[in-house]
Symmetry: C2
Subunit: 333 residues, 2 copies
């Protein structure tokens, strides 16, 4: 049975029993921000298995959460609920989704056989990977610049988030090439396990050695290695004003959109602990074309656009390392 | 003999005689604006044959004017000089250019055989293609929105300039879909012969029927069907100020960079005649990867980015059709 929402599924009552529920609500192509469109469709992948099981269905088949017209499944995180049976769930490419939908609308008896070989293995040890240039003046004030090392295994995770990792390394490389030693420590962090619980992001602030440090800023690029357009600042208003004063410098790199907003999943635990979070905003029309699919490979990354993102982050690291982000709010005492 | 500039070729004296001159100066990758980098290298393609002949060489081989690391030749306009013999000229992919250069530097005796089948045929009649929605209030005030129909025959000209043509058609389509009739006439013009003399652009203002019209604005997208970033206005300062007042509307489409600058080759004859010219600025890192080569095909055009360009131009046409561009400069009398 084809549905476009959980409400629609519930309204079916018993009619989903013993069937495969086919969640086929597309991402809304009329939204300018593709991340917003993604947010409006991803519930089907995240909770489709649980909702299908609640309706008595045998499985969930989910239209890939992408704007691309392609025929590769786009995978991603999903969850089960201990209170309901575990229904198997699979993603299907948008062209096949359109075909299945057309057949169902014609009243055809559509039979789909799912053969899934995936399984959840026990946890195994892994780790974040760190490299840094230690600040000459304030070595204990740390600017984190990072991405995440893990990716979905359909492609190689070139955009999500190989790009962010390589840019973080390139930030350090640019400082070395320019023979510049920053005042504060700049640390490239390749976080582990963003896609499946963010345990690398959560572990970083608790790691031994953090106790005597101040993590003053955390920068993340996790929206693909596309042309940078600006910065999204998740911090106190006065910190934002400080970043905003640097706007002309970023505008000279065509990345002058300095806005308040979210920063990044990996650095979220740092931000929650008081670190200023800054996400790189990129041209995002194409991100979900590749996202979590076999198409997320290095040939989809333009070398100039990737490098521009590294340059923007290097500039930001330089400014923060030289000037800091400390602000003195007016006192009422 | 390999050279990187005409000065270097002239300094060779007799040593280029009877040889193939290999022009191998790359586009400067450090320039943010790829059009500027293109402008700094394209003399080798445009005038290489003439300069090679002046040096007594038998032919010119030109490194493709692209930032891509690929192995397809990128072609384009070149010229001869009646005062010097016509030397054959050919473009070579950048990977082959690097190989040839490496072999020459190793002191190898490099022999290249050119077999060119191209020829210049006599002129044949062709024409611009026009379609319009006639303004209900001021039908004789015309807003031209256009691109050019012709392209280099290695690819299909999807970015250069199929995108501009399709966007111009889509502008009219959007008005029809929204059931909106503009106050002034909006005319989609697919210009002919931009690449080889701009005769379509030159013919348009002189065509019968233009005499009783006022061409108040001409809009062109000829930098590829990439994500739009803003508008480049080639007009009087007060006209520019008028467009600048609309900036928040374009910023809401992520295309808020409103600057003064060139507009487009096809509409240049109109602009020279007093029409306000407006070019669409797009994200340009990838344009020259595809430009004038076998890689300029429809699979390189992202449907969302193409559509966003059409939306930006439709908004601009709407604003000009409703409000006009007339300005009243302060009078000193």
């Amino acid at each position: 049975v084809e549905v476009r929402s959980f409400d629609e599924l519930r309204a079916l009552g018993d009619r989903a029993k013993g069937k495969i529920v086919f969640f086929n609500r597309p991402m809304d192509p009329t939204l300018l921000n593709t991340f917003e469109a993604y947010g409006g469709a991803v519930d089907q992948r995240g909770s489709g298995a649980v909702e299908a099981a609640k309706a008595g269905a045998v499985a969930a088949l989910v239209r890939s959460v992408t704007l691309a017209r392609d025929n590769v499944p786009h995978t991603g995180a999903m969850h089960y609920d201990a209170a309901v049976p575990k229904a198997p769930a699979a993603a299907v490419g948008t062209l096949d989704a359109n075909l299945i939908s057309a057949l169902l609308r014609k009243g055809e008896n559509v039979v789909i056989r799912l053969r899934l070989s995936c399984e959840t293995l026990p946890d195994a040890p892994s780790g974040n990977v760190l490299g840094q240039i230690t600040g000459w003046e304030k070595p204990d004030e740390v600017i984190v610049v990072g991405g995440h090392l893990d990716s979905w295994d359909k492609g190689t995770g070139a955009h999500d988030d190989g790009s962010g990792c390589m840019q973080a390394i390139e930030v350090l490389n640019l400082f070395k090439k320019l023979n510049m030693r920053p005042r504060r420590t700049i640390r490239a962090v390749m976080f582990m396990n963003e896609e499946n619980g963010n345990r690398g992001g959560k572990a970083y602030p608790k790691a031994p050695g953090r106790a005597h440090e101040r993590q003053i800023a955390a920068i993340e690029s996790d929206a693909g290695g596309f042309a940078p357009r600006g910065l999204s600042v998740e911090a106190d208003s006065l910190v934002f004003e400080r970043v905003l004063r640097w706007r002309p410098l970023f505008a000279s790199l065509n990345a002058g959109d300095i806005v308040r907003g979210g920063s990044g999943v990996d650095i979220d635990p740092l931000v929650k602990g008081g670190t200023a979070g800054i996400g790189v905003i990129v041209e995002n029309h194409r991100y979900f074309d590749y996202h979590h699919s076999a198409n997320d490979t290095i040939d989809k990354v333009n070398p100039r656009e990737l490098e521009m993102g590294a340059i923007v982050q290097a500039l930001l690291c330089y400014l923060i390392s030289e000037e800091g982000l400390a602000v003195e709010p007016a006192s009422g005492r």
